[in-house]
């Protein structure tokens, strides 16, 4: 926990405790999100990773502690001002049947609009740019419900991009996608990072998280058990302790990152057993 008081962090939490009814999900947790990199929160089901993201994005109000956005207590900022600084893609957004891609992405301008200022030339420029950056400009007039899962996810990311912020929070952006589409969406997230965005996301797939993140936050039962670059954080001991997962960590043949090779009960040839030693 060295990065607690990271001056470069735009977003962070200090001593937050979050719970539903009588259950405490996050207990007195400190975290700082480094600026300009991809941070991914991983951890077993029910460890509180989505709760952490929802707390950072102000969807949940902590019982104790504060979330700081650009040095301000996020609870004291106006909802609209938070939306101008931070884009959020929650887990299950709803697109009304028949809504076109252009209309959905245009809605991302909402925090910058008012009743008398509903479609300025700025809005048009930013939306056009967001559509292009996410590669969905050609689909602009298609209904969202006619698209594939991967395309749909691109459209939602395009909408958060149209908010015009360089801080994006994505809650499991690859859920329900097959591997090819998941890679496609995460490549897009990486492009956004390259163009200067700070990204915080929750991912289920450990190898995707390792490959694409500069900073991993590993959680277990409401606490952060490790944080840092995947090469430093991911070890077979950590995987066993945190996830209860027997796995070998090897060098990824295509990147300079670790690669997690899970060991199940079957199909394992004896050679690996000896290596595990």
């Amino acid at each position: 926990m060295t990065a607690l008081r990271n001056d470069a962090a735009r977003l962070g939490a200090e001593g937050v405790t979050v719970g539903y009814a009588d259950r405490v999900v996050l207990d007195n947790l400190d975290v700082a999100i480094p600026t300009g990199v991809i941070t991914t929160v991983i951890g077993p089901n029910g460890c509180g990773k989505s709760t952490l993201l929802r707390t950072l994005s102000r969807l949940l109000k902590p019982r104790q502690g504060t979330v700081l956005l650009d040095g301000h207590d996020i609870a004291r900022l106006r909802t609209k001002d938070v939306a101008k600084r931070m884009g959020l893609l929650p887990q299950t957004p709803i697109a009304p049947e028949g809504l076109t891609v252009a209309d959905l992405v245009a809605r991302g301008r909402h925090p910058h609009q008012s009743w008398v200022r509903q479609w300025s030339s700025d809005d048009a420029d930013v939306v056009a740019k967001a559509l292009h950056m996410t590669g969905v400009a050609d689909l602009a007039h298609r209904p969202v419900d006619s698209l594939s899962g991967g395309q749909r996810q691109r459209v939602w990311i395009s909408m958060t991009l149209a908010q015009g912020t360089d801080l994006l929070l994505l809650d499991e952006p690859t859920t329900y996608l097959d591997l090819a589409h998941a890679i496609d969406v995460i490549d897009l997230v990486d492009d956004l990072h390259e163009s200067g965005c700070t990204i915080v996301m929750v991912l289920h797939d450990l190898n995707l998280a390792v490959r694409y993140s500069d900073n991993l936050i590993v959680m277990r039962s409401g606490s952060i058990v490790a944080q840092g670059h995947p090469s430093e954080v991911i070890t077979s001991e950590l995987l066993l302790e945190t996830f209860g997962l027997q796995a070998k960590v090897i060098d990824d043949p295509v990147s300079e990152r670790p690669l997690i090779v899970p060991i199940g009960r079957t199909h394992v040839v004896s050679k690996s057993d000896q290596d595990l030693g």
């Binding site: 929650p90 709803i94 809504l99 609009q113 008012s114 479609w119 048009a124 420029d125 056009a128 958060t160």
Partner: protein, 354 residues
């Protein structure tokens, strides 16, 4: 911006000074056509009666240039009835568009959510308990219906509240409360004096009969004020179609917006019921048909109001002219609305199966 970025042909804007709106020609066109049709049917409705006044004479009278006889017949006899139809229709249409949008369900109309049922039960209580006293006349009855609708609406809202509002839960509780209110109404009618029952029954079907100017003005002002609030606040409704989390992410305080708009919807339905009785199906059908005409993904507010008015005045016209025995308007809207409800249910089932 470079040429490449202009490729997706996005909305065009209407800009005046620092103000700007999206220019959607089709929506403007359909709205204008609906408004013109509503005005036409409104005029025909006041032209036809025990004796018919020619349409040009109607228009002359409306702008204050008519004959004295026409003026008496139109302004004193027929206008209040037509205006009540207009007010109740607009109120029901907008109320339905709001409840359907907020619950994200086409079945969530004020009839289904128990608001109309609550208003009816209260009104019938006043009619039967007063034994023909003055309170049961016009204003007293309207006030009772409005209060009843509001209280039932609040009851349903708080019963459906569970860490927020879920559309499906809202509908289930609305249906149950509706059933209870229906039972209360029936119980009151069984106990009541037979003359009161006849009066209550007539009101319960929904009718534009014998409305006075004082009732018309009261309803008109309340409706206009509510519609104004709705049109301003509804700007915040747009991101809410994407779910609460997305709305919050886009800077909308969705709980507050939802509470204000639901309150407006309940009051609008209350105004309509207190003016015209519980006319069925207008709030359900109006928003859904105008949504299909406009080809919008969610019910359009202004068009829903206009279509509601068109439907109600048109049905009243049909009831008075085509059908025998001067049937109440509620029977006609039920004949149109019933099959449409079946269509919506079947379509919902087909979609779920697909």
């Amino acid at each position: 911006m470079s040429n490449a970025l202009e490729a997706p042909d996005l909305h065009r804007g209407v800009r005046v000074g620092g103000w700007s709106w999206v220019w959607r020609p089709w929506i403007v066109l359909v709205t204008v056509v609906l408004a013109a049709l509503t005005f036409l049917v409104f005029s025909v409705s006041i032209a036809i009666g025990d004796f018919t006044i020619e349409l040009p004479a109607v228009f002359r009278t409306l702008v204050g240039q008519g004959e004295r006889v026409d003026e008496f017949v139109i302004m004193d006899l027929r206008m209040p009835r037509a205006l009540v139809g207009l007010i109740a229709g607009v109120a029901l249409g907008i109320s339905g568009a709001l409840t359907q949008s907020i619950a994200r369900n086409p079945l969530a109309s004020p009839d289904v959510l128990g608001i109309t049922g609550g208003a009816s039960a209260t009104a019938v209580f006043v009619v039967t308990a007063s034994g023909g006293a003055a309170i049961a006349n016009s204003i007293g009855l309207s006030a009772a219906a409005l209060t009843g609708g509001l209280l039932t609406g609040l009851l349903v809202y708080f019963m459906a509240w569970k860490k927020g509002i879920d559309g499906f839960r809202l509908i289930l509780i609305g249906v149950s409360v509706s059933a209870v209110m229906q039972a209360v109404t029936t119980w009151l009618l069984v106990l009541a004096d037979i003359r009161d029952v006849a009066r209550a029954q007539r009101w319960l079907v929904g009718s534009l009969d014998s409305r006075s100017w004082s009732e018309v003005w009261a309803s008109l002002w309340i409706m206009a004020a509510l519609v104004l609030v709705v049109l301003v606040v509804s700007f915040q409704l747009r991101p809410m179609h994407f779910g609460d989390d997305v709305a919050a992410g886009l800077g909308v305080r969705y709980s507050a917006v939802r509470a204000v708009l639901l309150l407006c919807a309940v009051l609008l339905a209350g105004v309509a019921v207190s003016a015209a009785g519980p006319v069925p199906f207008v709030a359900l059908v109006g928003p859904q048909i105008s949504m299909r005409l406009m080809r919008t993904p969610v019910p359009p507010l202004i068009a829903s109001g206009l279509f509601g008015a068109l439907l109600l005045i048109g049905s009243d016209l049909v009831a008075r002219t085509v059908l025998p025995n001067d049937l109440p308007v509620g029977i006609v809207t039920a004949i149109i609305g019933g099959p449409f409800l079946v269509y919506l249910l079947v379509r919902a089932n087909v979609k779920r199966a697909a």
